[in-house]
C-alpha cells in the first residue's frame, strides 16, 4: 500500500493561486454544463417538432 504523502500547509500566496485556479475551472465547467442543457433542450424541441410535423 502507498504511504500517504505528507502535505505541508500552503502559504497565503499559494492558497490564493489554488483558489483562483479552482474558480476559473468552476466557471468553465458551469458554462459547459449550461451549454449542454441548452443543446439538449434544442434537440428535444427539434425532435418533438419533427414528430408532430410542426403542428401546434
Amino acid at each position: 500500500m502507498n504511504e500517504p504523502q505528507k502535505l505541508v500547509p500552503m502559504d497565503k500566496e499559494q492558497t490564493e493561486l489554488y483558489r483562483k485556479r479552482q474558480r476559473s475551472r468552476n466557471k468553465v465547467l458551469g458554462i459547459v454544463l449550461l451549454s449542454f442543457a441548452v443543446l439538449f433542450f434544442a434537440i428535444s424541441i427539434v425532435k418533438i417538432t419533427a414528430q408532430t410535423g410542426g403542428a401546434g
Partner: protein, 304 residues
C-alpha cells in the same frame, strides 16, 4: 525534519483544452462538416451542429486518451515535451478520466440527438485511435500510420451518415481518400522529426525501413491517391467542379511527393521539400473537401 509538499495545484482548464489537440480537431471538424454538407438530403441545423460537436468532442476524447497513454513517450520528444502531462501541469488520472468522459459523452449525445448508426461509427473511430492505433499499432509496427490513418478518416463518413442514415459507396470513398492521404502526410513530417521518434523507440517508417524506402512509399501513396480522389466523379457522386479540382490538386501533390521520393537528404539541407510537402498536404485536404461541398452546392443550385 519532514520535507512534505503542498497540495498539488488543480490543472488549469486551458491544459484540459490542450489535451484535446485543438489543431488536429480543426481538420476533423472541417472534414466532418464537409461530409455532412456534401451528403444528399437535408438535416436540421441543430442536429447538424450536434453531429459536428460530437465528432469534435469524440476526437478530443480520443486525443486525451492518446496523451494519457503516451505521456512517457511524449516526455522524450522535443515536439511533445511541453504537453500538459509530460510538462507536469496535470496528473495522469485527470487526463484519463477527462478522455473517457469526452468519448462516452460524445457517443451518447450523438446516439440520442443524431442517430445510433452515426454514434456507433463515432465509437469505433474513438476506439480505433485510442486503442488500435495508440496502444496496439504505434509501438509495434512501422505500418502504424497506414492502418492508424483510418482513425482520421472517419469524420466525413460520420458527417455523411448523420444526414443519410445509411452507409453508401460515396462516404466510404471519402474515408478511403483520407486513409490514403495520411501516409504521405505523416511520413513527410516523420522525415524531418526522425531523430525524435528514434529516441523514444517508436518504429516510424524512416526509423525502421530507412529514409529511402519511406521516400519511395510517400511517392507511391501519392500516386495511388490521385485516381482514388477521382473515383467520386466516376461513380457519379461528384461533378466537374470537384473533379477538376481533385485532378489539379492531386497533380501538384504527386509532383511534390515525387520530389521528396527521388531525392536524398544531406545533413544540414533543411529538409525543405519534406516541409513543403507536409504543409501542402494539409492545404490539399482542406481544399479538396471544400471543393466537394462547393460541387454539391453548385449541383443543388443547378449550376452544373
Amino acid at each position: 525534519m519532514d520535507t512534505g509538499q503542498t497540495l498539488p495545484l488543480p490543472a488549469d482548464w486551458r491544459d484540459f483544452f490542450a489535451l484535446t489537440k485543438p489543431r488536429v480537431m480543426s481538420l476533423v471538424i472541417f472534414t466532418g462538416l464537409c461530409g455532412l454538407l456534401a451528403a444528399p438530403g437535408s438535416i436540421h441545423p441543430v442536429i447538424a451542429f450536434t453531429a459536428i460537436l460530437c465528432i469534435a468532442v469524440g476526437a478530443g476524447g480520443a486525443a486525451a486518451l492518446n496523451q494519457w497513454w503516451e505521456a512517457d513517450l511524449d516526455a522524450g520528444m522535443k515536439r511533445t515535451a511541453g504537453r500538459p502531462l509530460p510538462a507536469g501541469r496535470m496528473d495522469r488520472t485527470s487526463a484519463r478520466d477527462f478522455g473517457f468522459l469526452l468519448a462516452g459523452g460524445s457517443v451518447f449525445t450523438m446516439g440520442l440527438g443524431v442517430g445510433w448508426l452515426a454514434a456507433s461509427i463515432l465509437a469505433i473511430s474513438i476506439f480505433y485511435y485510442a486503442w488500435i492505433y495508440t496502444v496496439w499499432l504505434k509501438p509495434r509496427t512501422p505500418q502504424n500510420i497506414v492502418i492508424g490513418g483510418g482513425a482520421g478518416a472517419f469524420p466525413p463518413l460520420i458527417g455523411w451518415v448523420a444526414v443519410t442514415g445509411d452507409i453508401t459507396l460515396m462516404p466510404v470513398l471519402l474515408f478511403a481518400i483520407i486513409f490514403m492521404w495520411t501516409p504521405p502526410h505523416f511520413w513527410a513530417l516523420a522525415l524531418f522529426v526522425q531523430t525524435d521518434y528514434a529516441k523514444v523507440g517508436i518504429p516510424m517508417m524512416p526509423v525502421v525501413a530507412g529514409e529511402r524506402s519511406t521516400r519511395r512509399q510517400i511517392a507511391a501513396y501519392a500516386i495511388a491517391l490521385l485516381p482514388l480522389t477521382l473515383a467520386p466523379w466516376w461513380i457519379g457522386g461528384a461533378g466537374a467542379i470537384y473533379s477538376w479540382s481533385a485532378l489539379l490538386l492531386g497533380l501538384v501533390f504527386v509532383a511534390l511527393s515525387l520530389k521528396v521520393g527521388v531525392r536524398r537528404s544531406v545533413p544540414g539541407d533543411g529538409m525543405l521539400p519534406e516541409k513543403r510537402l507536409f504543409g501542402y498536404s494539409i492545404l490539399y485536404l482542406f481544399v479538396l473537401f471544400g471543393m466537394l461541398v462547393a460541387d454539391r452546392l453548385a449541383t443543388v443550385q443547378g449550376w452544373q
